[in-house]
């Protein structure tokens, strides 16, 4: 089972504006790029030709908070601005 398939089981009511934003000009200096393997919803993508390399899409974020910890709160990184979606928006689990 790949995570793409896993994510097909999840539902969202996607907000109009991103609750998380990534200033990817900060990513140039980030060697490890932990976002690529630590986001459990694969919201971070790497493209060589892009400045900073990182594309970010918030639509399939499962709001775990990991990128707040390893990027927003990390003094050596800080490309991520992290908040929770507006009331009623974002991920909707059934079972939990």
């Amino acid at each position: 089972m790949s995570v793409e398939k896993d994510l097909e089981t999840v539902e969202w009511d996607v907000g109009e504006e991103g609750h998380i934003t990534v200033d990817n000009s900060e990513c140039v200096d980030c060697e490890e790029k932990p976002c690529l393997h630590l986001c459990p919803a694969q919201c971070f993508d790497y493209q060589e030709e892009r400045e900073g390399g990182i594309y970010f899409s918030y639509e399939h974020c499962i709001e775990c908070g990991s990128c707040m910890v390893f990027c927003a709160n990390d003094p050596d990184r800080g490309a991520v601005s992290w908040t929770k979606p507006d009331g009623g928006k974002g991920v909707e689990y059934d079972l939990g």
Binding site: M1, V10, L38, I62, E63, K84, G87, V91, Y93
Partner: protein
């Protein structure tokens, strides 16, 4: 005039327990929740150790949407394809109200119970700021005109607490104090579950696994049985996940969901999980604080409860947070009831902390304060299981060079790894003392 006496932010079990108890005592309370319906944002494993909920809602076993009554606990240590395990059944645990729960369903029921007592539930509302202004606390939300005032706030908004951060009570979560978890809910029919796990109808089993892949500390897996599904997940401390990733296991690092997939393919695991289809994938953080570095959890008129206050205890084979959340919510309610009686809301936070400190939550966290250093000790995940495997192979195998006395094999295995017997005894003693 304030809008409510108390505003509880977050309708997980911690917040709902607080709201329930407050409403029961006639306190004017609002329960503010960002999801459309209670539970929609929430994730657990999980086994609810239900004694404390019985105290608050004695009728819960008959009314709440529960999974199975947990009658068996299993611990398995994996090492290079070997599985060494303990299975524990005991009539003594049959009387305990411990059940598997899916919080998505459970929280909806619990919030209804709090509403029946008189709590006002305000869903679809994300709290953005909380600030004390003299005699009142202002709770700002993302709804136009949705700001509310009250005498005191209970921050029950989970591991990524907004209340704790915007009120400046606690520092933001750091790598070393948090773990990531991902989980699959897999549909399986009832009879398959009963046969596969050797259970009678309604009976449930809980499994904890450690030691895969070898040498990664702070990484564990769990499996819980529900009526007609199982939950299988992985929990890893963020720092080991980041470190493990850096070692470049597969180019840029190995995501936890890949580890979970590989775990499910192991010979010792596959027969337990195969068959059904995955109906839900989830991911969330879990607090991993030690007693010694627990974050601040109160200000004059604000208290933090449950995961927002870092109140979880990971013993490696059990993980507690649901009951700690409920109990800390009850402590916050009791503190507010006291403040109401004395008309002294400025000492609400302090009162809460005192009640919490005297409760079993802090007693247990204190008693088990040594566990984090045991479960983060790499030897327990790599070298010791390898030694155990060699010793057991020597004991059970009748072929090859498996001759001689078992204790000699144990010493041989230790020597091969350059492990000193004194070190083993010291680690063992530390583990025994902390558990």
């Amino acid at each position: 005039m304030v809008d409510f006496d108390v505003i509880v932010v977050g309708a997980g079990r911690a917040g709902t327990a607080a709201a329930y108890k407050l409403a029961e005592h006639g306190i004017d309370v609002a329960l503010v929740e960002r999801a459309k319906e209670a539970g929609m944002k929430n994730v657990t494993g999980g086994v609810l150790y239900g004694d404390v909920l019985s105290e608050l809602v004695p009728e819960f076993p008959d009314q709440a949407p529960l999974g199975r009554h947990v009658v068996e606990h299993n611990v398995r240590i994996l090492n290079e394809g070997t599985s060494i395990g303990i299975s524990y059944r005991d009539p003594a645990i049959l009387d305990e109200p411990n059940y598997t729960i899916q919080v998505g369903r459970f929280d909806q029921w619990f919030v209804k119970k709090a509403e029946e007592k008189g709590a006002v539930f305000i869903p679809e509302t994300t709290v953005r700021d909380v600030s004390q202004r003299g005699e009142e606390v202002l709770v700002e939300t993302d709804r136009t005109g949705g700001d509310l005032t009250c005498k005191a706030v209970v921050g029950a908004d989970g591991v990524n607490t907004t209340v704790g951060r915007v009120a400046g009570i606690r520092e933001t979560v750091r790598n070393e104090n948090v773990g990531q978890s991902v989980k699959h809910v897999i549909d399986l029919d009832k009879s398959t579950i009963n046969e596969r796990f050797n259970l009678e109808p309604g009976e449930g089993a809980a499994y904890a696994f450690e030691g895969f892949p070898e040498g990664v500390p702070g990484l564990g897996y769990f499996l819980y049985t529900f009526e007609s599904s199982i939950a299988v997940g992985a929990v890893a401390s963020m720092s080991s996940l980041e470190k493990y990733g850096k070692q470049g296991y597969s180019g840029r690092g190995t995501p936890l969901y890949d580890l979970l997939d590989r775990f499910k393919e192991l010979k010792a695991v596959k027969p337990l999980v195969e068959g059904g289809s995955t109906t839900e994938y989830q991911g969330i953080l879990v607090p991993k604080y030690k007693y010694s570095n627990l974050p601040q959890r109160y200000d004059d008129r604000i208290s933090l409860v449950g995961d927002a206050a870092g109140l979880t205890l990971n013993k490696g084979f059990t993980f507690r947070g649901l009951d700690f959340g409920i109990k800390s919510g009850m402590c916050a309610a009791e503190a507010a009831i006291g403040s109401d009686q004395n008309q002294d809301w400025d000492s609400f936070g302090q009162r809460y902390d005192k009640l919490l400190n005297n409760s079993y939550v802090m007693t247990e966290m204190k008693q088990h304060r040594g566990i984090p250093s045991v479960v983060e000790n790499e030897k327990f995940f790599d070298e010791y299981p390898a030694v155990a495997r060699e010793v057991l192979e020597h004991t059970f195998s009748t072929s090859g060079d498996a001759s001689g006395l078992t204790w000699r094999q144990a010493l041989r295995s230790l020597r091969k790894r350059d492990i000193k017997l004194r070190g083993v005894l010291a680690d063992g003693w530390k583990a025994v003392r902390s558990f």
